[in-house]
């Protein structure tokens, strides 16, 4: 998928302030590591999808 730039801890802290969460510096440090880890793995998800060809609604295994 569209790979967003990996945020620095400072950039991530600024973004965390907008989430509405009450976070300690230790929380932010852990969350930064977790987010960067997820972001790296998300590179595996394709970046382009044909419009309407891949509807995201997947809730039933018997479709």
């Amino acid at each position: 998928m569209t790979s967003p730039k990996v945020p620095t801890l400072e950039e991530f802290t600024a973004r965390a302030a907008l989430t509405g969460l009450t976070l300690t510096p230790e929380d932010i440090e852990h969350l930064h590591k977790g987010y960067v880890g997820l972001l790296t793995l998300m590179d595996r998800i394709p970046s382009h999808w044909a419009w309407a060809a891949e509807p995201p609604h997947v809730f039933r295994a018997d479709e």
Partner: protein
């Protein structure tokens, strides 16, 4: 005299049907063992002894009067403590729900009670079926009955540990990314994650709406099948519930497997499992082939693809569910749970939607790879569970892909089957997954394997 707590559900049911065993005697045997043994593994949060005795007495009265409700009549079971139970506190293993006493039963609990099952109590879980067991939670961590220095796997930890330690005959678990199959594998029990939509989630604390499933765990595959017989079926109060034809899973567990075609997803586990695990699975393949099944290597999409897809969905949906509480009372969560729930605040709408689209692609690709096969077989876990002393990462999912996640992503039914024990004494196990709503073939193959091996006679010593 036989220790009644080592009986299986099927066997106990037969004895009760013949009038050779009462539910009261069976229930008392389990309550006594819980009192004597459970302090060693802490699998129970709440024991409902009085309610259990009353339900057992009722079952005995009915059976002596000629009323036989089915294979679960008079059978003592436990419930993961995220299943709402009328008049009994349901904590989710969390400070947030310490005093929560639901007024009505979860649909699955209602079905078990209607079938005459005896509820022994509520079992330990990872907090809200997601966090790890941390010391800042209100109840002690559940320990692995094969070696109490090690974790039992989660999140249905108490369910797996209690069954292995014969502290109940069966238990309910839930599985969003592997939470039935992980403790089943590490504790050496059987457990099935049903097809998404087969079993109602109404009245069960949610973790991720589009992946959550509820399912049974028991010592044998046949016993899981008997539990599934009373659990499966449409529920209008669960929006993910599917309308499906009634299937006799207990009978399916006795079907021969000659001619069954099994796709072995060896590439998922071949380079990561322990040598013992690899040997155990190779031997299981041989046993299934001896019974007439065809087992062939098949290449499926990369394991990491399913893993990240499922993780993005779980992280986002879990945050949406618990957002208000992590904002208002973050200190009430365990430190691992809190951060796993907070992480979803950073996932964008585009990332979540892409994961859902990827889910559909993976489901289609898996179906295509499975064409011509009835089942998929693969490893259930990489090796032994983690020891308690080792520092646990907050985000455990970054190091290794989950072997169980593929079938949460695709929604297929997946069963855990014990296939021996490693040199370290821990159980080995494999998974069998079927086409959507074909639990019958999954259970047939698992039960056929169990009948021709001796692993079910080996229990942990406590």
């Amino acid at each position: 005299m036989t220790d009644l707590t080592t009986l299986g559900i099927a066997e106990a049911g037969r004895l009760m049907a013949r009038g050779e065993l009462t539910s009261t005697a069976l229930t008392e045997a389990f309550l006594k063992r819980v009192e004597l043994v459970d302090h060693k593994i802490a699998s129970y949060i709440t024991v409902t002894a009085d309610l259990a005795r009353s339900a057992a007495k009722q079952a005995d009265m009915e059976m002596s009067g000629g009323l036989r409700r089915g294979p679960m009549h008079g059978i003592p079971v436990g419930l993961k403590d995220i299943y709402e139970t009328a008049g009994v506190r349901t904590t989710g293993h969390s400070h947030l729900k310490l005093d929560y006493v639901p007024a009505i039963d979860a649909e699955t609990v209602r079905r078990l009670k209607d079938a005459g099952a005896v509820i022994l109590g509520k079992l330990g879980t990872h907090e809200f079926a997601n966090g790890a067991m941390t010391p800042d939670q209100p109840f002690p961590a559940v320990l692995n009955p094969w070696n109490t220095k090690y974790q039992p796997g989660g999140s249905s930890s108490g369910s797996g540990a209690a069954i292995a330690a014969h502290l109940c005959m069966g238990a309910m678990g839930s599985d969003t990314g592997g939470s039935i199959r992980n403790p089943a594998g590490y504790c050496g029990t059987a457990g099935i994650k049903p097809t998404y939509g087969l079993v109602s989630r109404c009245g069960i604390f949610p973790l991720a709406f589009s992946l959550d499933t509820a399912g049974p765990m028991a010592w044998t595959v046949e016993d899981c099948a008997l539990m599934l017989d009373v659990l499966a079926g449409y529920d209008p109060n669960d929006q993910g519930s599917a309308k499906t034809a009634k299937v006799d899973y207990g009978a399916a567990a006795h079907r021969p497997i000659k001619g069954l075609r099994i796709a072995l997803a060896r590439s998922w586990y071949d380079h990561g499992v322990t040598p013992d695990m690899k040997k155990g699975i190779d031997e299981a393949v041989r046993v299934l082939k001896d019974q007439g099944a065809a087992v062939e290597d098949v290449v499926f999409p990369d394991l990491w693809d399913y893993h990240i897809c499922g993780r993005i969905i779980i992280t986002t949906e879990a945050h949406a569910i618990h957002r208000q509480e992590v904002i208002e009372t973050p200190q009430k969560f365990g430190y691992t749970t809190r951060r796993r729930f907070q992480l979803g605040a950073f996932i964008t709408a585009e990332q979540y939607i892409s994961a859902l689209r990827f889910r559909r692609k993976l489901t289609q690709d898996t179906r295509a790879a499975m064409r011509g096969y009835d089942l998929i077989m693969t490893a259930n876990q990489w090796g032994a569970p983690e020891a308690f002393g080792e520092p646990q990462p907050i985000f455990h999912f970054l190091d290794k892909p989950s072997l169980t996640m593929p079938f949460n992503v695709t929604g297929q039914p997946a069963l855990t089957v014990c296939c021996g024990f490693g040199s370290d004494g821990f159980p080995l196990s494999f998974q069998l997954a079927g086409r959507a709503f074909d639990e019958a073939s999954v259970l047939a193959a698992g039960a056929a394997y169990e009948r021709t091996t001796t692993w079910r006679s080996h229990r942990p010593k406590l």
